[in-house]
């Protein structure tokens, strides 16, 4: 297993893509700390890791709370060692047409999907700089590249992640730290299950592979970027979308 002795932090790991990522990294031997906004979510993470015979645990965290982020990183480092893999996966949607979008809907997305990514990343950098290695993997979205009606806020945040990641990749490359983005297309999760059937069918017509993706199909790409095999990949965005958007 190629992630033995690595400590991975995965935000938003109680379900969907985050859960699949946590299981994939743990399956490669990493010790995984997965976060969820609620205590019950954190317990479910601890349970699924344990049931699969993996190392790690769930922790409750609201990524928008700066102090909570700081203390979680400190506690993890004290208990397990320096975090060597960070997967910024936690994200929310507040869709609305721009004409109708409220300031709160914009702010909530920017806070959770962009500012929190920046803050959690800053929090783990010191340890990675000292270790002279680290893998930062941000979960973006195809809509950050293509745009999507009703998602001006979400698309802005997801595009923001890409620019931030490229800049950071330049800053810390000399210290053996890579920064990459994985941009999922439409994946079968709670987030996309909320779509109306008509919209879902229209979407499928845009996807050459003719189906939604599975969370595990995103997780395997994240696991690749976290692995020694991806040592020379940085500042990159890997689109995993069944061909609906080709760069």
């Amino acid at each position: 297993m190629n992630l033995e002795n690595e400590i991975a932090l995965v935000t938003g790991a109680s379900r969907g893509i985050g859960k699949a990522i946590a299981l994939a990294l743990a399956g490669q031997g990493a010790t995984v700390v997965g976060t969820a906004t609620s205590e019950s979510g954190a317990e479910s993470i601890t349970a699924y890791l344990r049931d699969a015979g993996h190392k790690g645990r769930g922790m409750a965290l609201d990524v928008t709370q700066a102090e909570a982020v700081e203390s979680l990183i400190k506690q993890t480092t004290d208990d397990l060692g320096s975090i060597s893999i960070l997967v910024n996966n936690a994200g929310i949607t507040r869709d609305n047409l721009m004409m109708r979008m409220k300031d709160e809907e914009w702010d909530a997305i920017i806070q959770t999907n962009l500012t929190a990514v920046w803050r959690v990343t800053r929090g783990v950098l010191r340890g990675m700089m000292k270790a002279r290695k680290g893998r930062i993997i941000n979960v973006g979205s195809v809509v950050g590249a293509t745009g999507n009606a009703g998602q001006t806020n979400y698309a802005a945040a997801k595009a923001g992640i890409v620019g931030m990641g490229k800049s950071l990749a330049r800053e810390v490359g000399s210290r053996g730290i890579t920064v990459n983005t994985v941009a999922p297309g439409f994946i079968d999760t709670d987030m996309t299950r909320g779509l109306p059937d008509a919209q879902r069918d229209a979407l499928l017509g845009q996807i050459p592979l003719g189906r939604l993706g599975r969370p595990e199909e995103i997780a395997s790409v994240v696991a690749f970027l976290a692995s020694p095999a991806a040592a020379y990949v940085t500042g990159e965005t890997l689109h995993v979308n069944g061909g609906m958007y080709m760069v």
Binding site: R126, M129, K130, E171, V172, S174, R175
Partner: protein, 79 residues
């Protein structure tokens, strides 16, 4: 040479990968010792750890030479 001076110089040698004889009190990290901006951030991190202190960003920006680092530690080291 004081103990603090020796410890600061040792950290500079380790962090910047320079020879001990190159590190003089008046040496500038960037101009004389070839540090880039990230090196200076790491240097401050290393000083913080060695001397178990926190150097605020606005103070850290003023530490650009070996002597300034020694002076800062001397002025702020408790006990």
């Amino acid at each position: 040479m004081s103990n603090i001076e020796e410890r600061v110089k040792k950290i500079v040698v380790e962090q910047l990968g320079v020879k001990e004889e190159e590190v003089k009190a008046e040496s500038s990290f960037v101009d004389d010792l070839g540090a880039d901006s990230l090196d200076t951030v790491e240097l401050v991190m290393a000083l913080e750890e060695e001397f178990e202190t926190e150097i605020p960003d606005e103070e850290a920006e003023k530490i650009t030479t070996v002597q300034q680092a020694i002076d800062y530690i001397n002025a702020h080291l408790q006990g």
